[in-house]
């Protein structure tokens, strides 16, 4: 062996070059041409509106809801009825303390619901109104990006943000990611009983599962009711008051699109770029 250092370096350099370019060359040979493969993979990246400020492309169904704050102000019982309807149908446990609270739909003060709005000189009646809040079913949901198991995902059919409780590992990344506090964690067993022997779920609905301890839960836009042609429970509870209008945001002839076209609405913290599907008439 009398190889010189110079020869060794030459061989090493050539080998490195071959190693770097070989995959590309093979790729080119397989796909018969240098640009074909690139064109196919590059196309979906430049989709309009992805994370930007322009409107998202109006493709497919995107379910949304309009919440009329004034209607809930006129009839203060309405919000309670909505919460009761939702929570009883979905076997939402009541742990009896705010720390462990599970909520799919709940009421919030104006200043806590709309944290991005200035509260300076805001009129007092608005401050006293209960603001109905639930999962925003964002078009760009941060919880879905945070979930390591894809237990939470955006439905391809309806655009709603759903949970697959079978997959949830209880890491609570989604709760940290959600800017609206729409997710709750089961610190305790929902099937359990409190100190007085009262079950956390007062009346078990035998048509819907419960959750287990260590699972995150939230509003599912009543996916199980929509599948059998019913309206979401909260919308049904509001009846024909028009306090909640539910429908497809991408359908220009749907009732919700008409309501949105005729009224001034705001979204919760829209500046975050999550594109909430809930709109509030103030």
């Amino acid at each position: 062996m009398d190889a010189k250092r110079r020869d060794f370096l030459k061989m090493a350099g050539l080998s490195a070059l071959a190693g770097l370019t070989a995959p590309a060359a093979v790729h080119m040979l397989v796909n018969k041409g240098p640009f074909q493969a690139n064109a196919a993979t590059a196309a979906p990246v430049g989709e309009a509106g992805e994370g930007g400020h322009e409107a998202a492309p109006a493709t497919g169904v995107r379910l949304g809801m309009v919440i009329d704050i004034k209607k809930f102000g006129e009839n203060q019982e309405l919000a309670r009825q909505c919460i009761e309807a939702c929570h009883s149908i979905h076997n939402v446990p009541d742990y009896g303390n705010a720390k462990d609270e599970i909520k799919w739909i709940w009421t919030e003060d104006y200043e806590h619901a709309f944290t991005d709005q200035s509260q300076y000189k805001r009129n007092t009646t608005l401050h006293e109104l209960p603001i109905m809040t639930l999962c925003n079913h964002c078009d760009n949901p941060p919880c879905v990006r945070a979930c390591p198991t894809q237990a939470t995902f955006k439905s391809k059919k309806t655009g709603a943000v759903l949970m697959d409780y079978h997959r949830c590992i209880g890491c609570r990344f989604c709760m940290a990611a959600c800017p609206y506090g729409a997710r709750s964690f089961n610190w305790r067993d929902p099937r359990g009983k409190d100190a007085k022997g009262q079950p956390f779920i007062k009346h078990l609905n035998a048509d819907f599962p419960t959750r287990t301890r260590g699972v995150v839960e939230k509003c599912n836009f009543c996916a199980e009711r929509l599948a059998v042609g019913k309206q979401p429970a909260c919308v049904e509870a509001c009846g024909d008051t028009g306090a909640l209008v539910f429908g497809d945001l991408n359908d220009p002839s749907s009732p919700i699109s008409k309501v949105l076209a005729e009224n001034f609405t705001i979204q919760r913290n829209a500046a975050l770029g999550t594109k909430p599907s809930l709109f509030y008439i103030i």
Binding site: K156, K157, L162, Y165, A206, P209, T210, T212, A227
Partner: protein, 126 residues
């Protein structure tokens, strides 16, 4: 080989311990479970033998299709009987007792599926 005198008796003792359940029960696997069949339904969603061996995969497929893909809830058998692709409001509408159906085999096979941690089993009638 070294230590044959220790290895061979050691192996015999090991095999004896591992096979303890077999020889203790005299090679008898116990009474074969007889899950209660529904009275009213004439056929299951698939062939009985297929259901015996593969019902768990079928349930998983239903779950993934309905929960994640928004698949159809109602389906029909080859003979045209419509059914609900659901554990709680499908299977358990015919197999009305978890104790007399699910549990008989699951206990025999010593498996504990966690379906019922969330899904609600029908009320047991005595």
């Amino acid at each position: 080989m070294y230590d044959l005198g220790k290895i061979i008796p050691g192996l015999i003792v090991f095999v004896g311990l591992v096979s303890f359940p077999i020889w203790y029960n005299g090679g008898d696997a116990g009474a074969i479970p007889k899950p209660e069949k529904p009275v009213l339904a004439k056929e299951c969603v698939a062939d009985i033998q297929y259901m015996r061996t593969t019902h768990m995969q079928l349930l998983m497929a239903w779950r993934d299709d309905i929960v994640r893909e928004g698949g159809a809830r109602t389906w029909a058998t080859a003979r045209g009987t419509e059914y609900n692709r659901s554990l709680q409001s499908g299977c358990m509408k015919c197999h009305t007792s978890k104790k007399k159906f699910c549990d008989t085999c699951h206990e025999y096979a010593a498996v504990t599926p966690y379906c019922w941690d969330c899904h609600i089993a029908p009320q047991e009638t005595k």
